[in-house]
């Protein structure tokens, strides 16, 4: 079985990360923004696992595992916050949630 | 032999058997429930309604394929496809027998063995919820949405106790490969009592088994947990807006899921293809004896049949069963098929339990359902896992 160069994985990771950043900055729906964050986390995980695989170490995978767990915790709390925000403001438009202004 | 060709042959065999089982499982269910309710069930199409599934399939195929104007088309079409695909995938890692040799080709009675087989099944089963959720969402209508929402909460809620229940026997087996899990249950206590995980010392997994089965009921949306399709509250739940073949897909997915979880339970807890008692005590002859008994029973009822229409079918099936019993006496066939028999018998028994429960238990209320998993089943599963882990660690 031939091996895929590490750089390809990293490139894919970078592209996905960039997509996540783009979603974070340009999307207006708060849930989509949140999903963009998950996309970024996934992209980083790919890097971790690719490095771990190429270095023959398991540590990177453990790190990715922790990222997943933290992502799960983050999703639970974040979605609870989104629900509460929606309940109070009846909107998911990120630009309407600007009570910090002034 | 070309491994790809072998793979294709095996896949074809498994798929054919699975699809046939799906067809006839529905017939069996209708029959069993009918008998529980002291009815006859399907009787008109074919002898004892044996051709009913074929008729049903035909009906569903030629029904009008409705596509409501308000649906989200892409997802609406994707959902049943997703449901049935995901339901069928898991069967590929489930072992049905040991390594066998047919015409000089040695192979396992299993499509493929993953070293994370259990996780694979869990992963696939965790995706099945999308079929239902998407169906509910894309239908763009009240009841399906409610059904989809309920289903998502229910399946996420019951996946945890399921995982806990699965983890406990894994601790005893020390592997995630389904094949090795079965092989780890090979010993017999006292030379006679099966060392299946459900009985396996130091800590019998009866509790895990019960938790697994309860969670499996919920995961497959079967009574008493069929809230996503509760017909008296939600019309038909997530598939209210579906008709024709797409509707059939959901049905197929449900039955395929049932078969998968029963096969999983067999592998994890009931020793897979392993016999109930050692070969030295003649366990290889059990299939023959069982078939012979069935054949005898059929002949006994069939020779002067209660209904005239059975005068041919009952004796014919009786004779077939007897013939099969004789076939099972041939050593070569016996070695090949006895494990398969055991594995199918156990799975079939569990499937019968599924149907039996559907025929007996009422449906739970939604809040009871959620409270049950979060406040009872999950804690019990965790405790059971902790106890098992402790015992295993102490013995190590």
């Amino acid at each position: 079985m031939d091996t895929v160069p590490l750089a390809w994985f990293l490139l894919l990771s970078a592209v996905l990360f960039g997509l996540g950043v783009a979603g974070f900055v340009f999307r207006r729906n708060i849930i989509t923004v949140f999903m963009s964050i998950e996309l970024m986390l996934n992209a980083v995980n790919l890097s971790f696992i690719a490095f771990a695989s190429r270095l023959g170490q398991v540590d990177g995978q453990v790190f990715a595992f922790f990222v997943m767990v933290v992502a799960a915790a983050e999703a639970a709390v974040g979605l609870a916050i989104i629900l509460t925000v929606f309940r109070n403001r009846a909107t998911l438009q990120i630009d309407e949630l600007d009570s910090l202004k002034n | 032999m070309n491994p790809y060709l072998l793979m294709v042959i095996k896949a074809g065999l498994v798929m054919g058997a699975l699809l046939a089982a799906l067809l006839y499982l529905q017939w069996v269910e209708r029959k069993v429930i009918a008998h529980i309710q002291l009815r006859l069930g399907p009787y008109r199409v074919g002898p004892h309604g044996l051709l009913q599934p074929v008729a049903d399939t035909l009906k569903l195929l030629i029904k009008e394929d409705l596509l409501a104007p308000h649906v989200n088309r892409f997802l609406y079409l994707l959902a049943p496809f997703l449901a049935v695909t995901l339901a069928l995938i898991s069967i590929s890692v489930i072992p049905f027998g040991p390594q066998i040799e047919v015409a000089g080709v040695r192979t396992w009675m299993q499509l493929t063995d993953l070293n994370v087989g259990v996780l694979f099944v869990l992963a696939i089963s965790s995706l099945t919820v999308y079929g239902i959720v998407l169906a509910g969402w894309s239908s763009n209508s009240k009841y399906p949405l409610l059904g989809g929402l309920r289903s998502a909460a229910q399946m996420v809620g019951y996946e945890l106790p399921l995982g806990m229940a699965v983890a406990a026997p894994l601790l005893l087996a020390g592997t995630l490969s389904l094949r090795e899990i079965v092989l780890s249950q090979q010993q017999f206590y006292g030379g006679i009592f099966p060392g299946w995980n459900i009985f396996r010392l130091p800590f019998p997994q009866v509790i895990s088994f019960i938790i697994f089965m309860i969670a499996a009921f919920a995961e497959t949306n079967r009574l008493p947990f069929d809230l996503p399709e509760a017909e008296n509250e939600l019309v038909a739940g997530f598939h209210t807006e579906y008709s024709s073949l797409k509707f059939a897909s959901f049905f197929m997915a449900e039955y395929a899921n049932m078969i998968t979880v029963c096969a999983m339970a067999t592998v994890l807890f009931l020793g897979g293809w392993l016999p109930l008692f050692p070969v030295e005590y003649g366990s290889s002859y059990v299939p023959s004896v069982a078939l012979a008994l069935a054949g005898g029973l059929l002949l006994y009822h069939g020779l002067p049949p209660a209904f005239r229409r059975d005068r041919l079918s009952l004796p014919a099936f009786g004779a077939a069963a007897l013939a099969l019993a004789v076939v099972f006496l041939i050593p070569a066939v016996q070695a090949l098929l006895a494990p398969l028999f055991w594995s199918l018998a156990k799975t079939g028994l569990l499937l019968f339990v599924f149907i039996w429960v559907r025929g007996t238990l009422p449906r739970l209320r939604y809040d009871q359902l959620m409270r049950f998993t979060w406040t009872f089943l999950f804690p019990v599963g965790v405790l059971n896992l902790m106890a098992t882990g402790l015992v295993v660690a102490l013995r190590a």
């Binding site: 900055v25 340009f26 990120i94 600007d98 009570s99 202004k101 002034n102 | -």
Partner: protein, 616 residues
């Protein structure tokens, strides 16, 4: 075999916890049972321990755990018993037990009943910790703890302004002494690298004489500062007379029998140190004899019965210091032992009188002999003991001290004899004023209940007979005593002084009642000086308190606090507000803008890493 020394202080602590936490809702019977029971257990365990360890030639140490460990420094939580602490143990638990029992009767009608006993138990815990401690730091814990309990109990009637003031005064004055003590502990730590008694004292023996005399003298003097604070010696004695604001059992237990003698105990404990610092030892003797004399003169003129005894306490502790300073450590502890009995008895008897007539002014008493016969009889026992009437406990211990003083410096002996005469005079003055003549107060005095008189009787027996256990001789293995020839003549002089004092008091206050006032008038200015306690409080107020208060107010508060500190804080606040006004522009409230900022930041970070060569 381990003796479980920790149990001795633990019992009262348990009592404190139970009474302190649950006492408010518990019945008086329960509170009594807990308070008395724990002290009784403590007493019994102490007796059992000493019995089991007899004859207790050397110290017996129990090490429990390392309390503080830092580098080479290692301070353990260790308890120890030797003959010295055995004496203290018996005094503290035995007299403490009697006073606890007495307090049941005395406090029967007071508010905060459970609180009182909880404090008493806490005091017992700390006092026993102090006594049993096997190193200076643990001793300091007990030392501070008894100070705390003293403060709490002096201010027990905290609704009375004078009581809280007295409590504050005791606490603050004691802080000065404690400061000295803590400095001494630090010096010991620096000098010896350990605080363990055994280690420190054995190292002292090996030190070169001249090279270390300075440090040792400094340490000893600092310890002496601590001792003068706790034991109410010149110049820090001013808190003790005011401490009489507390309930009488407290005065008896803490401010007569046990806590105030902690300084004596501490100096005796550090005998090895003082023997290497003759200058400090001399200072101890000087302070002791001067305190004894001056306190006695003040005692001559007071009319508050408890104040008379308070000055008497100061004076008697002065005796003990005199004994210590003369090198007769055993004699000092012997006097501590007998003093604990008769002074506790004096206070308890005074309490019984106060209980009977409802106030403390001797001028409003008189003729109580018939009304409170038991109290009178027992008080008389205490009085003869303190006056040094032959064959009472005070006779033996005081003579030991005076003999040692004569050996040390004859003038100290003569001053001591004079003091002994005055002591006899003022004690019997109080007795005669209270119990003879006509009753000058209001109401009908009545005898105290048995729960109060029985401890009085027990203490009376101890006061009379306590001297037959010669503590000084028993302690000889611990202290290298100076060889003091027993001189019958000197003993006779001292005894005669005491008897003369009694006779004089009899003349002044029984035979010719008007004489005392005429003498006081004749002396005029001198009498007023002594009557007002030499105006020491006023002098302290003018010399120490006023400058400190004034300096704090003018310089520290108005100058430093308002000007510098507040100015700096306000300045920081104003500056932050100004910066915030600028930075607020960035706070658009739009999450996406923030996200863009984050993006900008991470890009900048990446570029920075690249530029600085983190990227290869």
């Amino acid at each position: 075999m381990t003796q479980h020394l920790w149990l001795i202080p633990l019992f009262p602590l348990a009592g404190f916890l139970v009474n302190g936490l649950r006492g408010r809702r518990a019945s008086k019977g329960f509170v009594n049972a807990v308070a008395i029971g724990t002290v009784l257990l403590s007493f019994l365990w102490a007796v059992k321990t000493i019995w089991a360890l007899a004859p207790l030639e050397g110290p017996y140490v129990e090490r429990y755990f390392t309390w503080i460990e830092s580098g080479a420094l290692k301070i353990g939580c260790d308890l120890a018993v030797d003959r010295l602490s055995a004496v203290m143990l018996l005094v503290v638990t035995g007299v403490g037990l009697l006073i606890h029992i007495y307090a049941i009767g005395y406090m029967a009608h007071e508010g905060g009943y459970y609180r009182f006993f909880a404090y008493l138990n806490l005091f017992m815990f700390f006092m026993l910790t102090l006594v049993l401690a096997a190193n200076f730091l643990l001793m300091f814990v007990g030392w501070e703890g008894v100070g705390l309990c003293s403060y709490l109990l002096i201010g027990f009637y905290f609704l009375r302004q004078s009581a809280t003031n007295a409590g504050n005064k005791a606490f603050i004055v004691n802080r000065i002494g404690d400061f000295g003590f803590s400095l001494a502990i630090l010096l010991i730590l620096v000098k010896f690298g350990s605080l363990d008694f055994a280690t420190v004292f054995s190292k002292i023996g090996g030190l070169p004489e001249e090279a270390s005399a300075g440090v040792l003298t400094t340490i000893a003097l600092l310890l002496l500062v601590g001792a003068t604070g706790k034991s109410a010696q010149i110049p820090l004695y001013v808190w003790l007379p005011d401490a009489m604001e507390g309930p009488t059992p407290v005065s008896a237990l803490i401010h007569a029998a046990t806590m105030v003698t902690a300084g004596v105990y501490m100096v005796a404990r550090s005998a090895a140190l003082y023997l290497k610092a003759p200058l400090a030892l001399d200072a101890v003797a000087w302070i002791g004899v001067l305190t004894a004399f001056f306190a006695a003169t003040i005692g001559l003129t007071q009319f508050d019965i408890k104040r008379v005894f308070a000055y008497s306490t100061i004076s008697q502790i002065g005796y003990m210091f005199l004994g210590l300073g003369a090198g007769a450590f055993g004699a000092g502890i012997f006097h501590l032992w007998s003093h604990a009995f008769f002074k506790a008895l004096l206070f308890l008897g005074a309490g019984s009188v106060i209980h009977a007539v409802g106030q403390q002014d001797l001028r409003r008493m008189g003729g109580l002999r018939q009304h409170v016969p038991v109290t009178f009889a027992t008080l008389l026992c205490a009085a003869v003991a303190i006056a040094g009437v032959p064959f009472t406990s005070g006779f033996f211990s005081k003579d030991e001290i005076l003999l040692a003083a004569h050996h040390h410096a004859p003038w100290m002996f003569w001053l001591g004899v004079l003091t002994a005469g005055m002591t006899a005079f003022y004690v019997f003055r109080a007795i005669f004023l209270a119990f003879f003549g006509e009753y000058r107060g209001a109401g009908h005095p009545h005898e105290s209940p048995a729960v109060m008189t029985l401890p009085l009787a027990a203490l009376a027996v101890l006061s009379l007979a306590g001297g037959y256990f010669n503590v000084a001789r028993w302690l000889e293995p611990l202290f290298p005593s100076p060889v003091v020839p027993h001189d019958t003549l000197l003993v006779g002089v001292a005894t005669t002084a005491g008897l003369a004092g009694i006779a004089l008091a009899y003349v002044f206050y029984v035979l010719r009642p008007g004489l005392a006032d005429r003498v006081a008038e004749r002396l005029g200015r001198l009498y007023r000086l002594v009557y007002n306690q030499y105006f020491v409080d006023e002098v302290y107020q003018a010399l120490v308190v006023q400058p400190v208060v004034g300096g704090s107010r003018e310089l520290l508060w108005q100058g430093v606090d308002v000007g510098v500190i507040d100015g700096a804080v306000n300045g920081v606040g104003a500056r932050a507000r100004g910066i915030g006004a600028v930075l607020r522009r960035l706070q658009s409230g739009y999450i996406r803008s923030y996200a863009t900022w984050v993006l900008l930041g991470s890009l900048a970070a990446l570029v920075a890493i690249g530029v600085t060569g983190g990227m290869r």
